[in-house]
Symmetry: C2
Subunit: 166 residues, 2 copies
DNA sequence: GAAGTTACGTCAGCCTTGTTGACTTTCCAA
DNA sequence: TTGGAAAGTCAACAAGGCTGACGTAACTTC
């Protein structure tokens, strides 16, 4: 359909067929992306929602519940259910804020860190294999396209992670 | 941690931190990836599951129920619930097989094609914007990493799509 | 032609994870 | 002191996964 080359460079990569392949690649790759943690979690009483909470608490120790709410993009009731079981099971500690006692600052316990490690080891192993197979240049492109695909607010959160801690 | 360069080339792209960023990029990008179709679907009685069915029926017209089952990786009860509503609402037609009358060959009706177009226009628009922003070289890398991330069986299905039709 | 297998549909029941709405408690800040 | 933000809780519900069991038609094999 659109295979003219207005600039010097071919725009064949923007054809509907190429875009469709990209869409399907996202679909199948995301299945692989979540497969390993899902396997570890099944049988334990946890699911993907617990994994996400654990991941971002690990990433930003001391983060508050509402921070987490924003990052995960779910309702507080949904998050609360997940968080409650993690606290009950002793994987997450919710410390009352010192300056603002309404806030709960979230930390992984030793037990929580153990599960986090198990989950992220599995997920990183797959990423590492994929990165290695594709090479550094491909990885750069991978990250560029993914960033461009995010909603602007999410992109800001993604880029701002790491400063997000307590 | 692993910043030595055993081959000529830097392996900094394989550090845990880089891998973690990649994991988070997948998470946030997938949210963006599904956001537009989700928005269109909400309010109609359909969800992401209907979208996936419609997508792959469009992609491989005449595909059978069990083909779809394999591609989507869900149970037949799950798929059936979705398919039933799509057939009832006149978006999908299930034709009894000519050679093997046990099979149902799935096709989109005109109405189904209309919704498919609306959904994929939105999703492609986002992909196109991302592709354009990142450039053709980045897109190549993007696809390479995603393919490497898939489970081998899924990768074969991904690559084999397009031949999958009736 | 009988027996077994395959493809599909369906009933019933369960789980996770999301939603909305209403309400309370705590506590900071104007 | 009062308004509002942060957090938690209860109840109810929906989508979309899952398992297990069962039925039927049609194809395949002996």
């Amino acid at each position: 359909m659109a295979d003219q080359t207005p600039s010097g460079e071919s725009l064949l990569f923007l054809t509907d067929e190429q875009l469709r392949k990209g869409i399907e690649a996202m679909f199948f790759a995301y299945r692989g992306f979540t497969a390993d943690p899902d396997r570890i979690l099944e049988g334990m009483d946890y699911g993907r929602a617990h994994h996400r909470a654990i991941h971002f608490i690990h990433r930003s120790p001391g983060t508050t519940v509402s921070n987490l709410l924003t990052i995960l993009g779910v309702t507080k009731q949904s998050l609360n259910r997940v968080l409650r079981t993690l606290v009950e099971d002793g994987l997450v500690e919710a410390r009352v804020g010192r300056r603002d006692k309404r806030e709960r600052h979230l930390h992984l316990t030793a037990k929580g860190q153990e599960l986090e490690r198990e989950l992220s080891d599995a997920q990183r192993a797959r990423m590492r294999a994929a990165y290695r197979a594709a090479g550094p240049q491909a990885v750069t492109g991978f990250r560029q396209v993914l960033e461009a695909m995010m909603d602007p607010e999410l992109r800001r959160q993604y880029q701002g992670l790491k400063e997000g801690g307590a």
